[in-house]
Amino acid sequence: MDILSQLFAGLSLGSVLLLAALGLALTFGQMGVINMAHGEFMMAGAYTAFVVQGVVPSAGVSLLVALPLGFLVGGLLGLLLEGALIHRMYHRPLDTLLVTWGVALVLQQVARDVFGAPNVDVSAPGWLSGAVEIGGLALPRTRLFILALALTCVVALTLVLRATPLGRRIRAVVQNRDLAEASGISSRTTDRITFFLGSGLAGIAGVALTLLGSVGPTLGTGYIVDAFLVVVAGGIGQIKGTVVAAMALGMMQAFFEYSTTASVAKVLVFVAVVAFLQVRPQGLVSVRTRSLA
């Protein structure tokens, strides 16, 4: 029974990591931008849920309103960042790291000024409180919801990338920017849309995180390193690699933590990822395009 509940703990931790990393897989993986403000976009999504809850008193309705709105807020912030700063420094990933780190600090302070230093709480809707009992195994409903949400996001993103004209344009620009331009695709517009999507996913992740913890200005910093770890281990630019890596890291964390302690488990996961990247520097799933080599 313990093993089963740990299995679920790992799965749900993996789904949280997946939500945090999915947007990064797009902006970092596909576009080569190291966006340290990704965590702050999550924070913005979480505060969106808080604001929505102030306007819509029913917790159930407000969560459903907050999800698309969080996507929009995260996406618009991403659009703003891309338009103001990032588009000037494509192909200079280290510069994007420093610039977005600065932006992250600014956003944290803005949140502190607007919402105050103390953390705030978003209450979960009634239908998400408590746990589902399956054969003596208690699965918290919030965790099941996040699992389902992560799955939905993966499916939606995959569909967008694989089955829509927009997705084809994004893939075309990633694979060969010049050729894409030559065939009439505006790479500027495509970059903007890709960044909007990636940052919007961060917003959704932020809304989901309000179900697990409280909302504060530094909410994102706790996830940003793990999210990058997932994207790198998964193989840069690969959605399926991101999914597998998120789940693997979640499972490892849960099982190491059960047999040791939380701190030791974090170290062990890091060691495991470093060791893995020694053997397979390209990550779980290797990149096959020429432009991102």
Partner: protein
Amino acid sequence: MRHRPTSRSAARLAVPALAALSVLSLAACGAQVDSPGTASSASAAGSCVDTSGDSVRIGFLNSLSGTMAISEQTVHDSLQLAAAEINADGGVLGKQLEIVTEDGQSEPTVFAEKATKLITSDCVAAVFGGWTSASRKAMLPVFESNDSLLFYPVQYEGLEASPNIFYTGATTNQQIVPALDYLAEQGVTSLFLVGSDYVFPRTANKIINAYAEAHGIEIVGEEYAPLGHTDFSTIVNKVKSAGADAVFNTLNGDSNVAFFKEYTNAGLTAEDMPVLSVSIAEEEIGGIGVENVVGQLTAWNYYQTVESPENDAFVEAFQAEYGADRPTSDPMEAAYTSLYLWREMVEKADSFAVADVQEAADGVTFDAPEGTVVVNGDNHHIAKTSLVGKIGDDGLIHTEWSSGEPIEPDPFLEGYDWAAGLS
């Protein structure tokens, strides 16, 4: 890099002072306050406090940014309130207080750096602030080598007494030990310990383990999560399967929110397995969500609901200044009280000089919102009444048990046989 030279020279200054102090503290075991040696080295270090005008400077040093800003901003607010009240009341020795505010930025090194600045270039008569033990430990040598005064407002792990620090929060025998007494009284025979992975919880749990061994309580688990850890599914699984009578919680900051949400969602309640926390105060409850902590226990020396005319005045004044939705909490009250205690000491000494204030400190008393407190001149802690409270659905904490009278501070737990060997 930039401040390395200053901290080095400060360290050079600190060595003789520290050596003298440690010899004294070993010899006198706590009665290390009135040391002519430190007093004269103070004038040698060049106290630049200016008392010639009609105002005197004091420093407020709290984290107004970074991860601790959440907690320390509230302390800063109540310090400002106390200063405004004292100024309206005619000041200290007839001089108005002039506040110099510095931001510790949640970084111990910044605390040390800013403390040096406050003492040596702003020439403040005393500094009020600090929260984490790491920040206090970083500032301690600064205050000792410059022979200045720090008033520290937060409960902590004990096992410390500096002549240059006044500790106005609880030490362990005024918070953790009474809380354990309360649990034992309730028939608790097994405990699960959950804490953040740093100095306070680890020291506190060492004390709890010693207590448990002496009182026949079984510790069925001991788990630490890194500061800022937000995924508690595994730890809650462990707590659930260990099946203790109660959980003793020394988690700090945001981790509490994630822990309690997980705890509630896993189907654990205050009825079947109560959690006693030592660092959740009123202002954190809003952040955790009242519904996740209703009925859980806390141990402190002050709650907003304490009934006394002094507390009514304090709460009313604070909410008039900062908004009716702002609760008051133990560290805020201890900070507020610390400024008044300093005033009492200065007026008793009839001097702002550190040595005079130290000498006058013993027995200084103040009718604080928590009740009357008395300064212990030997270890610079204060006698405080201990309270165990239960979190109500109004988001406030209501006293469930009280020690009745102030408990004398015993930071090294010398009065407890079971604690021998801990310090």
